[in-house]
């Protein structure tokens, strides 16, 4: 028993270091935390901190849906969105109830059970057949307070031929502490397209867990990006299941932790059907005494012939005190497939750095140029230039380039 489990009970036990999946991201510190279940109600702008805007990407013309400490903020949100899309918080639903989902997790875990038990709210987002949503939907989660916990879960269903771009942005004020435990389940129908950007820009000391579980039907496309700009302790988990022919899954990510931050990206790409492609690119630069984990699983099941799967995780350890543990895990049960993968950990290219400096570019600016080049392949596939520019400028501002 712990301070945490006394308050938040579950049938499944919390993971320990004995579990391979949690070995490098122990949660002992979380278990000693006095976190409260947030029962606050919506406060609108009155309860909103001055240091942040409700809309995290001001230049992006989007529908905004705001949650604070897990609670939906109707006055800060732009609902309803356009015709052909049902975008409704669970708390505002009539008897029709949230979307039915048949997603099957690879593993039921304590962290997911907590979300199921203590969920405050979430969004049910249903894009009807052949509807191409005119603007991105930005879901902004703010954590503000001491020892607060939010447990959102969002359900996204894009029907056949539909198109949707969602940005899930989480922020936290510098005084904040506690836990963010966010789930997302998505189903992408035949020929449908879902672009999803997940950005974590949390100040304070928040344990951030997020888990996206995405099922793709025939000829659907997923484009997913996971950016960690700032976060004391972050675990991003992404599971993609391709269960129709001809799907395409692109999922990229970047992280540049500072100080003693911890960043963990676990991804699973499960190919169960033939003629599919997946491409995964995660890039990280570890500064200070930060620690990191990358674990990328790719399954190619016996029926998934003609799969083309690419995975790459490239890391730069910028300072001596920083470390990252990276591990690809490929399990291939089909014979006619193309799979390429590479995980590397290295330093800044000293030859390139000297070359830049020898032209009069100072060390800081030279490194900024190299970082920008390093991140370019991840940023260039983001759905909108407004969003990628905002992300790059937040990195720039944070690192003082």
């Amino acid at each position: 028993m712990s301070v945490f489990t006394d308050k938040f009970s579950a049938t499944l036990p919390p993971p320990t270091r004995k579990s391979e999946r949690w070995k490098y991201s122990p949660i002992a510190k979380l278990l000693n935390h006095e976190i409260e279940i947030s029962k606050a109600s919506a406060q609108g702008l009155n309860g909103w901190p001055e240091s942040l805007m409700p809309n995290p990407v001001l230049n992006l013309d989007a529908y905004l849906v705001v949650f604070k400490n897990g609670v939906f903020e109707p006055t800060l949100s732009d609902l309803p969105v356009s015709d052909g899309v049902d975008c409704i918080p669970f708390s505002k639903m009539d008897q029709s109830g949230p979307l039915e989902f048949s997603n099957v997790y690879h593993q039921k875990e304590w962290i997911g059970e907590l979300n199921d038990t203590y969920r405050q709210d979430g969004l049910s987002l249903h894009v009807h057949r052949n509807v191409k949503v005119d603007r991105p939907i930005v879901i902004h989660h703010l954590t503000d307070g001491i020892n607060v916990a939010s447990f959102p879960k969002h359900l996204i269903k894009v029907e056949e031929g539909g198109e949707l771009n969602v940005v899930i942005w989480s922020s936290a004020t510098d005084r904040s502490s506690g836990m963010y435990n966010g789930l997302l389940e998505a189903s992408i129908g035949p020929n449908a397209i879902l672009s999803l950007e997940k950005v974590c820009n949390e100040g304070g000391k928040v344990f951030h867990f997020s888990h996206e579980h995405i099922v793709q039907e025939r000829d659907s496309k997923l484009k997913m990006h996971t950016f960690t700009i700032k976060g004391d302790w972050v675990r991003n988990e992404l599971e993609i299941i391709s269960r129709g022919k001809g799907t395409d899954s692109v999922f990229n990510g970047a992280y540049l932790p500072l100080g003693t931050e911890h960043i963990d990206n676990h991804t699973t790409m499960d190919h169960t059907s033939s003629d599919c492609t997946s491409s995964e690119l995660y890039r990280g630069i570890m500064y200070g005494h930060s620690t990191g984990v990358f674990n990328g699983k790719v399954f190619v099941r016996p029926d998934a012939q003609k799969t083309n799967a690419f995975q790459q995780n490239t890391n730069i350890v910028a300072d001596r005190g920083a470390a990252i543990n990276t591990k690809p895990e490929l399990e291939i049960y089909a014979d006619d497939v193309k799979c390429a993968h590479g995980c590397t950990v290295g330093q800044f290219d000293l030859d390139a750095l000297f070359y830049l400096k020898s032209r009069g570019i100072d060390e800081k600016a030279a490194k900024a140029l190299l970082v920008e080049a390093f991140l370019a392949d991840v940023l260039s596939s983001v759905s909108s230039t407004e969003l990628s520019a905002e992300i790059m400028s937040l990195y720039t501002e944070r690192h003082g380039w």
Partner: protein, 254 residues
């Protein structure tokens, strides 16, 4: 302009430069020749500020500034330019952004405003046409996918952009066919002026037919072992280097 006095440098435990002296006056062009492994690139890198080499003794003075005390970027801002023997490819960094950052670094050092976009592009056009690279730099990353000749021409383009006080060219002729050699030499000659000095490192005499030196020095085993006028290059071409080579082991305490 440049005074190198008793310069000694090593990498790891290996002494490479062993008491090198050289003086270069404004407007002069000095050629440094010598066998492979004699320390020519090391000299160039030490002057440009590569910190993987440790300077163990000696001094380098550029117009009253102690060069060895400066970071590589500050040396460049003071007017030192090194054309690399092996230019580095930097994927993802565009040639033009690179040059803009370099130029503005120098300008901020001189207390000048960043260059205007229009002026910058005009300068790029002028300098790239000098080495017949016009239109070939835009939208490409620094040296990425460049042929050997293009890389060397890009070095001279950068030199023309940055207008250094002291340009050090490290085997800019190696790997060039005769046409590219002509282009590169034309670029260098166009840059010669009474205020700009050159150190031209080369293994072969043929470059010096195009870029005529005021002085020729032979570097062997970390020291300058012979100096002369441009006719020395011809003599070296004929006789090779063996007659000048110092024994490679240290005989001073024998």
């Amino acid at each position: 302009m440049l005074k190198i006095n008793n310069l000694c440098a090593k990498v790891g435990d290996k002494d490479i430069l062993k008491g090198l002296n050289l003086e270069v006056k404004p407007g002069e062009l000095h050629a440094i020749m010598g066998p492979n492994g004699s320390g020519k690139s090391t000299l160039a890198a030490v002057l440009a500020g590569r910190d993987s080499f440790e300077v163990t003794d000696g001094s380098v003075d550029l117009d009253g500034i102690d060069l060895l005390d400066l970071e590589a970027s500050d040396r460049a801002r003071e007017g030192v330019f090194l054309a690399f023997q092996y230019p580095i490819e930097i994927p993802g960094v565009s040639n033009l952004n690179f040059m803009k950052a370099a130029l503005n670094g120098k300008r901020s050092h001189q207390g000048l405003e960043p260059i205007k976009a229009k002026d910058f592009l005009a300068k790029v056009k002028e300098c790239s046409s000098l080495v017949e690279l016009d239109g070939q730099l835009r939208d490409r990353s620094v040296n990425e996918g460049f042929s050997g000749g293009e890389k060397k021409r890009n070095e001279i383009f950068q030199m023309a952009m940055l207008e250094p006080k002291l340009a050090i060219l490290d085997e800019t002729d190696s790997g060039l066919d005769i046409d590219a050699l002509r282009v590169v030499s034309k670029g260098v000659n166009a840059m010669r002026s009474s205020e700009r000095s050159f150190i031209v490192i080369t293994h072969y005499q043929r470059l010096l037919e195009h870029i005529v030196p005021d002085f020729v020095h032979v570097l062997s085993n970390g020291k300058i072992v012979k100096s002369g006028g441009k006719e020395l290059a011809l003599e070296l071409e004929e006789k090779g280097y063996d007659w000048l080579k110092e024994p490679s082991h240290d005989t001073s305490n024998a």
